[in-house]
Amino acid sequence: MNGKKVLGMMFANIHEEALDSLTAMRTMGSVPFCSRYRLIDFPLSNMVESGITKIGVITNANFQSLMDHVGTGKPWDLSRKNDGLFILPPFNIGTATMWGNRIDAIYGNKGFLEQSTQNYVVLSDCNNVLSLNYQDLFDAHEASGADITIVGVKAPMPDKIGSILCFDKVDEDGRILEASLDKKDEGEVFRSVNIILMKKYLLDSLVTAAHSKNEISFQRYIIMSNLNTLNIHAYDATESFVGTISSLQAYYDVSMKLLEKENRAKLFSKDAPIYTKERDDMPSLYGPDAKLNNSLVADGCIINGTVENSIIFKGTKVEEDAVVKNSILMQDGYVGRNAKLNCVIADKDVNIKDGVELSGAATFPVTLSKGTRI
């Protein structure tokens, strides 16, 4: 795609209340995921690989971890003289430290939109782990003649999160005829992942109108109420791996799905690498008594114990005779000798002392917040 055409706008904070302690000190976008990434890496890398050259990241007051991660934008080649990466905290509206809602946030960044030379905008949340070719999305949007194209997947409803838009009736061309919010359905639905493409002027006029009426729901007042007047299409991304991080349980489940080869193959394609901020760790070292199976491990680990069905982040050390099962250990953790962990999510820098045993259930993983020492 000619990067001069489409502007990316990322919502780094949306839904972060769903992740409890994982988002206590960070935005949704900077939640660690899959041994070496942060959630924002997926949409950011996909956008860059699709040729998008200017991306604004809308965030709230807790943006320090996000700034630490995306920094100058260099890992995504977004440290540019023209265009590049822009962090958009709510700094210009008096004492506000939070954008009120999505409409507010876009309205508050009208200046950013106006100063951009691109004619199209693609909006994206950070809580859906998927691999998307935005060029294909753009081509489909152009080919269909749609005013708005929304990416959706056919999957069960996620737990907990509110305001999920379902496409209840879609015609053969892909136009959404009927939609609903927060459907009660146990089975598979066709639901939005909140990646939305439209012309910049259209977004501007819809948001300006909604803002002047004090509307607060983007889904309801910008999408649903315009289904008749605008040509709004659904783009089906079901063939990609899609994981919606709507709760801690969903975080755990989506993570564990990546132990399956076919899911990794979908999410990590050679053609569309996922970039992240590098730490320059050494390769991981496995000692004489290491026993690993069905696990993902990043660089910089020293594994001397047993690790099964687990996801191990950078710089983790597992000592002799320690046993880690069905767990997620974020970066720079330490598991002492004879410690036993089962169904645990440990945030960064967690230190499990020798002999400590902790066990949750796959349907109720135990969560340890950053820096916990047990």
Partner: protein, 402 residues
């Protein structure tokens, strides 16, 4: 400005490195993969950056493409600088014709203009085929304190090996009074590591003199150092302690790789205060399957390991399928070891494919004639067919199909 760029490092990436055989057929030696996540050049480059040297010229006239590509804009080493940074310097044409680099000294001589641009006080000369971690800033301080013209880093080697090195005889103040290249009767066990600090005015003087000397080999070790010593210049030996390895041969490259998983070797790659930087392949975490067995080894990102790995260094994006067996081997990025294949005491280069049931190399104890043993080497993109075998010490050329 003076304070920022008063040191320029020049890295002699060298010639074809023919002792590395098929491994350097298509790439310059410093670009050869090493230690799971690295290439050889990452060590001198990271040493430079960690020592506060941000201007590095890399001299090569041989296959610079992959090296250029690897170094790119220098960002992985924090060398994407507005001034300075890392530059690959190939020979060029001036009025009056062009010349290829004749020797190490001539390579620097031809790039005097490059160095002068930064107006340095000191120039550090490095070579591209050694693995070590060294703070050049301390060596430069030592050079300054001694008011030296030239300082050479030295390592104490076992006396019985001294005759394989360039040996420096020094007085009690570390002042060098004699230099001997591979002496039969070494006077000292201080071996030159090929790391030099020169005061730039002195180096320029002797480079120019050497260039005008008929019959000179234009080489640092053979010409520049002896001439300076003869002229009575102040030359000092800077003592280095720690891991240092020349990886100029297949055997030493193999050994140096296995050193990273040897707990008895003094090479700590996890030291956060002296990181070794490298260009990251941007691969997902590695996956170790339910039936895999991995011990005493290093594994890099992007690997899918379903077989057995023991005493081996597995680089990024390697696939080792079920029932494959890899022991005492070095498997470079992107290689594939298919089902049931065996790889023992081997180096398998980038993107090579070892098909099902093939066997590369052998465990020396199992050989009838251990005298004939050696490291087997599979060149990059080579393909070893189903059930085929490659003998110990054999080399398969890049791209060849066996």
């Amino acid at each position: 400005m003076a304070h920022k760029t008063n040191v320029v490092a020049m890295l002699l990436a060298g010639g074809q490195g023919s002792r590395l055989g098929v491994l350097t057929k298509k790439i310059a030696k410093p670009a050869v993969p090493y230690g799971g996540n690295y290439r050889i050049i990452d060590f001198p480059l990271s040493n430079c950056v960690n020592s506060g040297i941000y201007t590095v010229g890399v001299l090569t006239q041989y296959q610079p493409l992959e090296l250029n590509d690897y170094l790119g804009n220098g960002q992985p080493w924090d060398l994407d600088r507005l001034n300075g940074g890392v530059h690959v310097l190939s020979p060029y044409e001036a009025i009056g014709g062009a010349e290829w680099y004749k020797g190490t000294a001539n390579a620097i001589y031809q790039n005097i203009n490059f160095i002068e641009k930064y107006d340095p006080e000191y120039v550090v000369i490095l070579s591209g085929d050694h693995i070590y971690k060294m703070n050049y800033a301390k060596m430069i301080d030592f050079h300054k304190e001694n008011n030296a013209a030239c300082t050479i880093a030295v390592l104490e080697v076992p006396w019985e090996e001294a005759s394989r090195f360039g040996i420096l005889a020094t007085d009690e103040n570390d002042k060098i009074y004699e230099f001997a290249e591979k002496p039969a009767q070494p006077k000292s066990n201080k071996a030159s590591m090929g790391v030099y600090v020169f005061s730039w005015d002195k180096l320029k003087e002797y480079l120019t003199l050497d260039e005008n000397t008929e019959g000179s080999a234009n080489d640092f070790g053979k010409n520049i150092i002896p001439t300076m010593l003869d002229a009575g210049e102040r030359m000092f030996a800077f003592p280095f302690k720690g891991y240092w390895k020349d990886v100029g041969t297949i055997a030493s490259l193999w050994e140096a790789n296995l050193d990273i998983i040897n707990p008895n070797v003094d090479l700590d790659l996890s030291d956060q205060s002296w990181k070794i930087y490298s260009r990251n392949p941007m691969s997902p975490p590695h996956y170790i399957g339910a039936e895999a067995k991995v011990e005493n080894s290093s594994i890099s990102e992007g690997c899918e390991i379903d077989g057995d790995v023991d005493y081996s260094v597995i680089f990024s994006d390697v696939t080792i399928e079920e029932d494959a067996d890899v022991k005492y081997s070095v498997i470079m990025p992107g290689a594939t070891i298919k089902k049931g294949a065996k790889v023992y005491y081997s180096i398998v280069a980038e993107n090579a494919v070892i098909d099902e049931g093939a066997q590369i190399g052998e465990i020396p104890e199992l050989l009838d004639d251990p005298e004939n043993w050696g490291i087997a080497v599979i060149g990059s993109d080579a393909k070893i067919g189903k059930g085929k075998s490659v003998k110990p010490g054999e080399m398969i050329a890049s791209g060849e199909e066996v």
